[in-house]
């Protein structure tokens, strides 16, 4: 009997309990479960600590290490603060699914081998889909189905990769692999699907904004960041990740600039931020991996904060589009200030958590002498301020006055936002507690006058560019095409064309057959009809004559 349960089991049990209870009891379970799981996560020592045998496979159910604990910690904090934000307005189904989804994420953190990892990976896929469905609109259901298809496809690719690695090496241990054969490539691709890497980035911005205002807060945290953790564990220093990450960074910026839906802007900026982390994993040095882990930690907090702020706006107004919003700072000061703090943090403004974490990634690139990567990351940092740092708060809370005067956040949503806003600033001023949790020793101090001045110049001049170029960023009632055009438009249109063609062929065939039947019918009627040659009744004498003739012919043939 083990001395402890896998931490994910606490959350799974909590999810079941939340699904079966109502009212105050449900809220208490919802809030206490993540805290209990957090405690359990910190009881896990380093190394494999819990195994079980299943079909002769010794599954490593729980394995601890500093980076695993770091991710599990932030997932539990997220589940707690997300629960606080959601418990009064979200449905019981959504709350239970969110806890089960968090259980999958925490399970992945402590998975000791690839099969256990896969199991929790699918738990995440299933319950995150349920969270999307809880958006409860036709669009949410359609987006949820597309989301599920992509994630189960990613799961299949991952499983094929795992099987291949198992056959090739005889081991499913979680250790650093390198993408040099089909099996490890499949594992890498399976993980990258969840990181919203190209070409399958579209699922994220498709599904997250269709969830409920509370659902998208949960969705923003778990899937992509577990992908980052698994990349850190399995593919540190994999060069292809640098290119993939940089692509994601700029993809996120460009699509967010084109977007009109407030939560979709934030969704694209998740891809952008995860791109920073994927690049860091690709660089693969201790500083860069510390940067990826620290940035994931900080990112979950400020991204959830941004989604909370947008969620309050959607909850209070029912409106998603920037073109319908504006001027909300008048009656939603708390939501506005918290949104701005999140926006500053994502832009890595000095004194916020983004500054003390993302700078580690740039530092990792600089240490390795990767000039191009360094310059591109600096350009991307400016772009983040542009698309998320200013664009989101500007179009939602300022710009023109929409005339809307909604109430500010309910107390629980406000408290959740204040907690995370405080964390953004706290980690910006005093990042040492976070640095202490990182996988490698970290004593970076970025508060040198030169560094701070560089970032202030970079970000403030990006701000100037934003306001000077505002006329070029007019909001339009549009969506932006992505790779999902292939299956949302091209395939259905092609399918309808084929179907229409088949229907036309069928109709033509029917017509031709009818005509043929008419011709044949006339011919049959003529010969076999009542008075036809073969159907009319004959006199008996004629029959006898024919029989006699046939018999004569037979006798003749027989004697020949």
């Amino acid at each position: 009997m083990p001395d402890f349960l896998p931490p994910a089991v606490w959350l799974l049990a909590g999810a079941v309990a939340v699904a079966m209870t109502r009212g105050g009891l449900r809220s208490v379970i919802l809030l206490l479960t993540p805290l209990a799981t957090l405690w359990a996560a910190w009881q896990v020592p380093d190394g494999v600590v819990l195994t079980a045998t299943y079909l002769e496979h010794a599954a490593e159910l729980v394995e601890g290490s500093p980076v695993r604990r770091l991710f599990a910690t932030i997932f539990c904090i997220m589940a707690f603060v997300g629960g606080l934000y959601a418990y009064r307005t979200a449905s019981g189904t959504e709350l239970a699914a969110a806890l089960a989804y968090a259980a999958g994420a925490v399970g992945v953190c402590f998975a000791g081998d690839l099969l256990v990892l896969f199991l929790y990976w699918e738990v995440m896929a299933i319950f995150s889909t349920v969270v999307v469905f809880c958006g409860a609109t036709g669009r949410a259901r359609a987006a949820g189905i597309r989301y599920a298809v992509i994630h189960f496809l990613g799961g299949v690719i991952l499983m094929v990769g795992i099987e291949s690695v198992m056959v090739g090496t005889g081991s499913v241990d979680i250790r650093a692999l390198s993408a040099n054969n089909l099996g490890t490539w499949m594992v890498l691709i399976g993980l990258l699907v969840n990181a919203a890497a190209p070409p399958l980035s579209a699922w994220l911005a498709d599904a997250y904004p269709e969830a409920s205002p509370t659902g998208s807060v949960f969705l923003s945290a778990f899937t992509t960041k577990t992908a980052v953790l698994t990349l850190i564990l399995l593919f540190p220093g994999e060069p292809v990740l640098i290119g993939v990450g940089l692509f994601m960074v700029f993809y996120g910026i460009i699509y967010a600039l084109l977007e009109n839906d407030a939560r979709r802007i934030l969704a694209y900026s998740i891809v952008n931020q995860v791109g920073f982390m994927v690049t860091a994993v690709g660089i693969g040095t201790e500083t860069a991996l510390n940067g990826a882990a620290a940035h994931a930690f900080a990112h979950i907090i400020y991204k959830a904060l941004l989604f909370m702020s947008a969620g309050v706006v959607v909850y209070r107004t029912g409106l998603n589009r920037c073109s319908d919003l504006g001027g909300l700072f008048r009656t939603m000061p708390l939501t506005c200030v918290c949104g701005i703090i999140g926006a500053l943090a994502i832009s890595s403004f000095p004194l916020t958590s983004g500054f003390t974490t993302k700078t580690l990634i740039s530092e990792g690139a600089a240490e390795q002498g990767m000039a191009a990567v360094y310059y591109l990351l600096a350009a991307a940092s400016a772009g983040v301020f542009l698309h998320a740092g200013i664009k989101f708060p500007w179009f939602v809370f300022f710009q023109k006055d929409s005339g809307l005067r909604p109430k500010d956040a309910p107390w629980n949503m406000g408290l959740a936002m204040v907690l995370f806003a405080a964390a953004c600033i706290g980690l910006g001023i005093y990042p040492d507690p976070l640095y202490a949790l990182l996988p490698y020793p970290e004593d970076a101090d970025f508060y040198t006058p030169g560094k701070v001045l560089f970032y202030l110049q970079l970000l403030l001049f990006s701000g100037l560019a934003f306001f000077l170029m505002l006329p070029l960023m007019r909001r339009t009632l549009t969506l932006s095409l992505d790779v999902d055009w292939l299956w949302r438009r091209a395939l259905p249109v092609a399918w309808y064309a084929v179907a229409d063609g088949l229907v036309a062929i069928r109709d033509k065939a029917r017509k031709d057959l009818a005509a043929a039947r008419r011709v044949l019918g006339d011919w049959f009627a003529e010969h076999w009809g009542g008075e036809g040659l073969f159907a009319r009744s004959w006199p008996i004498s004629t029959t006898a004559l024919w029989i006699a003739a046939l018999l004569a012919a037979y006798v003749l043939v027989y004697y020949l």
Binding site: I253, L257, R330, A366, F454, Y455, L460, S480, L481, P492
Partner: protein
């Protein structure tokens, strides 16, 4: 179900932050802060590992140029990528039912 949102007529509303005089002052303030960050470079050396970083006010001009480039790139790509919001409505629902807004 959409929540009831109190509305006012924006034309009759006045808030100190949106008055033209405030906006003008904010522009001056932004200009002053920008100038300050550039002038501060004389007092604070910004050390960098790479050649471009040594140029004067690297952060300022690089941030500005990159942002302008990204906005223009988005604008150009927008002509190619942007479609009306209802673009997927027919195919997303199997061509049968309309999606909820």
């Amino acid at each position: 179900m959409l929540p009831e949102v109190p509305r006012v007529d924006p034309a009759t509303e006045d808030h100190w932050l949106t008055r033209p005089v405030t906006v003008r002052r904010l522009w001056w303030l932004l200009g002053a802060v920008l100038l300050l960050t550039v002038l501060a470079q004389f007092a604070i050396p910004v050390k960098g590992k790479f050649p471009l970083e040594g140029t004067f006010a690297f952060g300022a001009w690089y941030g500005f140029v990159c942002c302008v480039a990204m906005v223009l790139a988005a604008r150009v790509l927008g002509w190619w990528l942007k479609r009306p919001e209802t673009y997927y409505d027919a195919t997303d629902n199997g061509g049968e039912e309309g999606g909820d807004a």
